[in-house]
Symmetry: C2
DNA sequence: CCACATCTGTAGTGAACACTACATATCTGG
DNA sequence: CCAGATATGTAGTGTTCACTACAGATGTGG
């Protein structure tokens, strides 16, 4: 098997740079010129490695969700449903205002509405947000089984609610909301989960 | 004063069509060709009337917020803070899944992240979302003064929270969430406001 | 050391974009 | 009914976009 000339850049490092560009400008707002410059490569290398612009986005999303997967595992490891929600939302308040990254969340900033030819990008993002929601839902189902949540609680609705708040916070962060403002939102939001917890009125 | 040839189209009707295109495809995803076709006019008429693409967006946003202003007035007319939140979020669940409009909210779908040259579009949208938030905050300040909210309640944080949930619901709607799913989110979300209401534990 | 496979940089490609020049059409004021 | 002003439709403008042809560089297997 012939090997040929080896690649001169590291794919994951390049993806980190691409992620940042998509995060800041969205899928359609990011240009190949911006992406290649940030990645430190030329267009042919990009296309040889990732196929096309959408392939690059998917690779960047894969890396993003992989990096966040570890964090989500910590979140659902919290002892109660209320603590899961608090850990998730407070963590998001911090992450989405971390100056090391663009504000907000890539799964939202990536593209909520796109033009003709990129219609599936928003759904691609939605699918990945859905994975987080599923993980939350499973955790809340367990919480209900453990008697941590009220018997009348709806785990799927609770997970969808936490996910919705996360997205809303992301949009706010991207348009300038500071960390304290997001923490206040998280703090209020947790109270709805608390209201569904056992031992509460 | 000379009048010249009168305009052959109605600006508000045309704006309604433009609004729909921006709503569905976002600012950058919407092309002049799509806009002019939807509006039933040719590019020179568009530019003579609205200046440029961004001017058209602002005019469409003005119309959107004007149309929603009446509804927001009804929302804040609810008797209690809890009812304000419920009326707002339940109404949004319905509006954002109304088949007469594209799913979601124009103030979100319009563009959360934009490319070079359109950086101010996201802030333009954020400013208009902020107007709704201000209206809610004022209403919650009144609720606190009336003893409807607990003395420890933070009206600004509550308003920001309700606004964040609205945005999150909008994103969910745009990616396929149905009315029932959004109503469940709204139903859970209202409980956080309830927890800040007087007479609750 | 040679055939071949893969990567890299230069320099483009056609298509789609926002926007406009210009001739023509339709109004008002006098 | 004429002069000036504004709107309209046709047909472009230059620019930027995602993407690629091609030639040279750099590796591996025999």
């Amino acid at each position: 098997m012939r090997m040929g000339r080896p690649r001169e850049f590291d794919a994951d490092t390049a993806l980190d740079q691409a992620m940042e560009v998509f995060w800041r400008h969205g899928y359609e707002g990011a240009t190949i010129a911006q992406l290649t410059e940030a990645m430190g490569i030329n267009p042919p290398s990009l296309y040889a490695c990732f196929g096309n612009k959408e392939g690059l986005l998917k690779a960047a999303l894969d890396r993003y969700t992989k990096l966040r997967g570890a964090w989500m595992d910590e979140v659902v490891a919290a002892p109660t449903a209320r603590d899961v929600a608090e850990r998730m939302l407070m963590g998001i308040a911090d992450k989405q205002t971390d100056p090391a990254n663009p504000p907000g969340c890539l799964l939202v900033q990536g593209g909520i509405a796109c033009g003709t030819g990129s219609e599936n990008v928003p759904f691609e993002l939605a699918a990945r947000r859905g994975q987080n929601e599923d993980q939350l839902r499973d955790r809340f189902i367990r919480a209900k089984a453990e008697g941590d949540l009220k018997p009348t609680a709806d785990p799927a609705a609770l997970a969808r609610y936490v996910s919705a708040v996360s997205v809303g916070m992301g949009v706010m962060a991207s348009s300038g909301a500071d960390r304290e403002a997001l923490r206040q939102v998280a703090s209020v939001a947790v109270q709805a989960v608390e209201a569904q917890s056992a031992g509460k009125a």
